[in-house]
């Protein structure tokens, strides 16, 4: 790409900093001196992708090797896409500005279903044939990883190879295999076949799916003698695993513009709606000293004045209090503020509150997820109303006046009473504030409730459940709106149009590849962005492919049905998911991993919480 021409064009688009590269910490190598060029593609805009921790880890890890040059690529916004297409500029890596179609690998991270059209769009902008079968050249090899690969069947026609689970180890094994096979003059097909032997690597073209007359899957047949089930890969010892000492620090403001320190993977809770709570099992912690040391280095090297501790449930970290003491020791001196997202209400102590409020006082956010105790038991959110109110009291007494509560709507067994329960709970929190003697005088309380739509996901106990229709969703939103009687309560909700699509792709099969391609041809992209999403174009795509979205969303699945992801193994067994599903319908909660092992199957990885002393 001619730099001058590009820079001239960049001045005609919004936020040129998205595409210019050259940020502090970005890595430029001599392309003649590397063996493998890897385009790490995040299928959403720069500000979203640059906030993603997984990309930062793999980018640094790849580039630490002299023989690999990994570059970043993001989905262009519509204005820059127009420029690229008009000027016939192929999609390029931010570091070298070279066309990624000439790279050895194009890798996507699949974080959410609504980014799938961006994957196709980016391949198309790169000038690479969309379907794996049409890519007859050795390179680029198109790979993908991330949470959505636990059922990436809708993308099976487009991706040569998926990484299941954590990629730190399997990525490099695949790259090494590639180097060997190229050197030996082997074919791409031979390479893919050999890669399928690596643990955590799934080559979709080596599995054939057949369907029954009722459209359900009849069988998933492994070809050419490949393993019948593909098991996800995990990093066993997080203390020993790679963590970046430096981030690429962007010039433009990104969504999470701060240093991020991972403290553990997995979650002990097992909330039944939460995919992350199951697919990242077992829980593995980093030790306090490793976290503290990595965090300090990161702040010094990046110059960030804020660091956030990252995990699925920060307060479940066993060393949280000693860790905060150690971190506050240096962070206060250097003016770094700590942020602790994902705190749970039940183990949120006064000491913890005091520690975070010494630095900066912002709003408090909690996720009760459901409005009544009955429904919270169904979803296994082991949290009582008294615990919620007590935490709010603690927070109010500590000077907080704003509380944000996250809920979900459309959960299995939900009734209108559960919906009204959301408003009642918010009202009781407001009342709690005004009953408190030592609250901040002269300040009003603000309780905001944010409601997302429940979408059933694979590898959760709710993977069998129907998703409610859009009409029903709108009706329930209205029930909630009618139940709120205080101006101190703010209500916001998630767009319902995209939830249906998310549901289709979350539990979809390979036949959806055709819908995806059609939708892309219809102009669908950036579907996660309200201003770009078009329901009509999607409806047209489904109709053109003779498939009904309802088949994937509103249907109750039997325990016996073969799911599109049944050949993928994430440790958690189907037997366990069925037993959890039954317990949900009986309204019986399951204790967390540290209280009592529920026998989910993740212990088979031989690591983590499953082997902690209780």
């Amino acid at each position: 790409m001619d730099d001058k021409r590009l820079e001239e064009l960049l001045l005609t688009v919004q936020k040129p900093g998205r595409y210019s590269g050259g940020e502090c910490g970005s890595i430029v190598k001599d392309k003649e001196k590397v063996d493998v060029r890897f385009a790490f593609c995040f299928p959403d805009v720069y500000e979203v992708g640059m906030s993603h921790l997984g990309m930062k880890i793999l980018y640094s890890q790849f580039n630490e090797r002299d023989d690999i040059w990994c570059e970043r690529v993001f989905a262009p916004w519509t204005d820059f896409e127009e420029v690229l297409r008009r000027e016939k500029i192929p999609l390029f890596g931010l570091e070298s500005r070279d066309a990624i179609r000439d790279f050895d690998f194009i890798g996507f991270t699949l974080q959410y279903e609504l980014s799938y059209t961006n994957v196709l769009n980016m391949l198309d902008l790169a000038g690479v044939p969309l379907r794996s079968a049409d890519r007859t050249d050795w390179t680029p090899i198109v790979v993908a990883g991330g949470p959505c690969t636990c059922n990436a069947e809708p993308l099976a026609d487009f991706i040569d190879l998926f990484f299941l689970g954590e990629g730190e180890e399997s990525d490099l094994e695949v790259i090494d295999l590639y180097k060997t096979y190229r050197k030996q003059g082997k074919s791409k097909q031979e390479f893919l076949r050999a890669a399928a032997e690596i643990e955590g690597v799934y080559v979709p073209s080596l599995y054939e799916v057949s369907y029954q007359e009722d459209e359900k899957i009849a069988a998933i047949i492994p070809l050419d003698g490949v393993k019948p089930t593909v098991r996800k890969r995990i990093v066993r010892d997080l203390d020993q695993s790679y963590y970046p000492k430096q981030f690429v620090v962007p010039y433009i403001e990104i969504v999470h513009d701060r240093a991020v320190q991972e403290i553990f993977r997995g979650c002990i809770r097992g909330c039944r709606f939460c995919q992350a709570g199951f697919i990242y099992r077992p829980v593995r912690e980093k030790s306090v000293d490793v976290v503290n040391c990595q965090a300090k280095t990161l702040c010094e090297r990046t110059g960030y004045d804020e660091i956030s501790l990252s995990s699925l449930s920060t307060s479940d970290y066993r060393g949280i209090e000693p860790l905060l003491d150690k971190m506050l020791d240096w962070s206060q001196k250097t003016g770094v503020s700590l942020s602790l997202p994902s705190l749970r209400i039940d183990n949120f102590s006064e000491e913890l509150l005091e520690k975070i409020s010494t630095v900066r006082k912002s709003g408090l956010t909690f996720a009760p997820e459901a409005g009544t105790q009955r429904l919270r038991d169904v979803i296994n959110k082991n949290l009582t109303e008294e615990e919620i109110l007590r935490t709010c009291r603690t927070a109010f007494a500590g000077g907080y006046t704003a509380v944000k509560l996250y809920f979900m709507m459309g959960l299995p067994t939900e009734t209108d009473d559960d919906i009204r329960g959301i408003a009642d709970l918010a009202q009781r929190i407001v009342d709690e504030y005004y009953h408190l003697e030592n609250r901040v005088k002269g300040k009003a309380v603000a309780v905001s409730i944010s409601v997302a739509n429940f979408v059933p996901k694979p590898f959760t106990p709710f993977e069998f459940e129907p998703q409610i229709t859009r009409e029903e969703m709108l009706r329930r939103q209205q029930v909630l709106r009618d139940s709120i009687h205080s101006k101190k309560i703010q209500f916001s909700w998630h767009e319902s149009k995209t939830s249906q699509l998310e549901g289709v792709f979350a539990r979809g099969d390979r036949r959806l590849g055709a819908v995806l391609e059609k939708a892309f041809q219809n102009g669908c992209r950036l579907d996660g962005w309200d201003e770009c999403f078009s329901l009509e174009k999607w409806q047209d795509a489904f109709a053109a492919c003779n498939l009904s979205p309802d088949f994937y969303t509103t249907r109750q699945r039997s325990y016996e049905e073969i799911s599109p992801w049944s050949h993928l193994d994430y440790g958690v067994t189907k037997k366990f998911l069925i037993s959890e599903n039954r317990l949900a319908h009986a309204g019986v909660p399951t204790p967390n991993c540290r209280e009592k092992c529920a026998g989910c199957g993740a212990a088979s990885f031989g690591e983590g919480v499953c082997f902690e002393k209780r």
């Binding site: 001045l11 040129p16 010039y251 403001e253 110059g303 960030y304």
Partner: protein, 202 residues
């Protein structure tokens, strides 16, 4: 760096300075932040060879000569400090700025530019601070200009009013010019900032 806006530049500088051990002063408000201010913001799309940035250190006896090497060690090669000194002038004194504009036109624009800049009147629409468009004549605003040729093509140097009192962005002038001309690639660099006595701003 031409794609880095003024606000982004400030944030970038804050982070770079935090990577050093220079004892910089933080504001003492509710949300303390590193005190840092640029004398004259630079437009998105421009480069500059003369920028002035104010910083405070907390230690009065701090050896100022340490600052330059410390900052240059953390800065990327395209952002470098060339002098550190105590402030001489207040930012309100800024009155002019020099720009150098290189057109990669193979010299084709030299004559049209000469004609354009010697016209009796150059009218353009400028937004007032209240956001109302106002028609102004740019000719009396141009303090001086020179057109020559360089290796790459026509070179235009301009001295224009800058700062809080009156500020003319060279883009205003070029936009009018390019209404009639085909636009080649060109690069704008700010090369100096002056006070009303035409002394380099320090």
């Amino acid at each position: 760096m031409r794609f880095v806006s003024h606000l982004d530049m400030t944030r970038f500088m804050t982070r770079m300075i935090r990577r050093t051990d220079i004892p910089v002063w933080y504001t003492e408000g509710f949300h303390p932040h590193l005190y840092l201010t640029f004398a004259l913001p630079l437009s998105l799309g421009f480069e500059s060879t003369y920028e002035v940035m104010d910083l405070r250190v907390t230690d009065d006896d701090y050896d100022m000569q340490q600052i330059q090497p410390k900052l240059n060690a953390v800065f990327p090669p395209y952002v470098q400090v060339f002098a550190v000194a105590e402030p001489v002038m207040k930012t309100g004194k800024i009155a002019y700025a020099d720009f150098s504009i290189v057109f990669e036109d193979g010299g084709a624009l030299t004559e049209p530019l000469k004609q354009f800049l010697s016209s009796p009147q150059i009218l353009c629409q400028k937004m007032t601070k209240k956001g109302i468009p106002k028609e102004i004549d740019l000719v009396p605003k141009i303090f001086s200009y020179d057109i020559s040729s360089s290796e790459k093509g026509t070179l235009l140097t301009l001295t224009l009013p800058a700062g809080g009192q009156d500020n003319v962005n060279p883009t205003l002038l070029l936009d009018v010019f390019f209404q009639e001309q085909k636009k080649p690639f060109y690069a704008v660099t700010r090369t100096a900032i002056y006070d009303d006595q035409h002394q380099l701003f320090r």
